[in-house]
Amino acid sequence: MGGYGAFIWPSYLIAAAVLIGLLAQTLVTLWRRERTLAALRATIADSDAEKDAS
Amino acid sequence: MTAALRQLVLRDLRLALRQGADAVMVVMFFVITVSLFPLGIGPELNVLARISAGVIWVTALLATMLSLDRIFQHDYEDGSLELMILAPVPLEAVVLAKVAAHWLVTGLPLIVAAPLLAVLMNMPAEGFATLLVAMLLGTPTSSLIGAVGAALTLGARRGGVLVSLLVLPLYVPLLIFGVAAVDGAITGLGVRPHLLILGAMLAAALPLATWAAAAALRQSQT
């Protein structure tokens, strides 16, 4: 790499870090929200069931 | 309609003057901040002369920006803004009147204080006249662009800090050509193109910024 590796590799690594970090943050948020949605729907379904039962 | 707008400007001026030293505080910020630079950078006159235009312009833009929330915030909070939106006068004209009032209370005092600070910063004499003309063209534009930022952050959490984040990047062209005009005068390289561009920015900001601020005010109603 002609001795400039000290600048080429970090730039690619940083680029990769930012992109992968972005993707990871997106996916984590998506999964967390989907879990919350499922939980919320479950609680509403239960409360509806109680209402119908009572 | 013009009677209504004149009344609006007069009311805003009366509010600013009666509500105490808004205008004075803005000028005080301007003077104190510029005086900090020699303390920070050192008293060498040639260094100060070199950076005088830049320091004065940056501080003037910051001073304008600090007083931006006064344009709409109080009226938004006490319900006056709703009535202004409902007034038969077009909202764009109301925005223009409010920006004019804001400029008279902040822009004009800055221009009056600028020569004093130019002396403080040891700016060469050739630059004084151009500095005033450039600020005369630049500060209204900064009030106009600032009005858009102020309208956008109505009702936002931490609106004050947010306005600076939105508005300062948009002040970059103003800063560049404002300082270039003064440097042009000092170095004798010619002032005309920079002042013309400052004038063009003002001409563009008058309709566009007013329209954008009015649109922002309308969408601020929930």
Partner: protein, 239 residues
């Protein structure tokens, strides 16, 4: 009314495209890296450091391209009040900011060997820096309101104001650069593009674009789920 154009059809279509998009992204970026790092020759003048260009230049294009798409989505949202346009603009901003950050960092890494300083006030780097501030302003304004629709509308106006100001900022920064052009500063120009250098550049550019589309689809799904959660909470209170 256009307003009721069935957005769920869009999401079904997007989910269908997603795997292809992701796969193609990986392939293209891998090809770009291979061509850029291994096959293409070093530049006669800048030597090996020119390889940073294969990341720096595409990310600069992406930063501008994404800001333009945010401005278009914002215009659509303001004019036709389509909820999806708001979401696309809101979901794109962090990706655009990410690419702008990459562009700035790789730009300074590229400048370091040549001028010995980490940051050079080159005209284009400065414009990208200001674009980065516009992105931060957009994201901050979008999240500054309790009511997401309020934030979306305010940010949409800001995106349009920013889009109008970008060329003016670019023009004034270039003018400013020529005013203060010290003789020694060589412009951070991409060298004459030899075809062997063109392919990795294009591969990376298209790869980044597809990456943006992939992440956008994931973020759109995430925003829609968040909206459903907010709605269910309202129904819970209202119910």
């Amino acid at each position: 009314m256009q307003r009721f154009a069935n957005p769920t059809r869009f999401m079904r279509m997007a989910n269908a495209v997603l795997p292809w998009c992701a796969a193609l992204t990986v392939v293209l970026i891998a090809a770009g890296l291979y061509l850029g790092l291994v096959r293409s020759p070093a530049d006669y003048q800048q030597g090996e450091t020119v390889r940073i260009m294969y990341v720096h230049v595409p990310s600069a294009w992406m930063a501008l391209f994404i800001y333009a798409s945010i401005a278009m989505a914002s215009a659509t949202a303001l004019i036709w009040k389509h909820p999806l346009a708001d979401l696309i603009a809101r979901a794109s901003a962090p990706v655009g900011a990410g690419f702008t950050l990459i562009c700035l960092i790789t730009g300074s890494l590229w400048g370091k060997p040549m001028w010995g300083t980490w940051w050079v006030w080159d005209a284009r780097l400065t414009s990208v820096l200001i674009l980065f501030f516009l992105y931060l302003g957009y994201i901050a304004l979008n999240n500054a309101f309790d009511d997401p629709t309020r934030g979306a509308r305010a940010a949409a106006v800001l995106a349009l104001v920013g889009a109008v100001n970008l060329p003016i900022i670019k023009f004034s920064v270039d003018w400013w650069n020529t005013l203060h052009q010290p003789a020694s500063l060589t412009r951070l120009d991409a060298p004459a593009i030899h075809s062997s250098m063109l392919w990795p550049l294009l591969a990376m550019a298209v790869g980044f674009t597809l990456f943006y589309v992939t992440v956008l689809i994931f973020r759109l799904r995430s925003e829609i789920v968040a909206a459903k959660i907010r709605n269910l909470r309202l129904v819970q209170i209202g119910g």
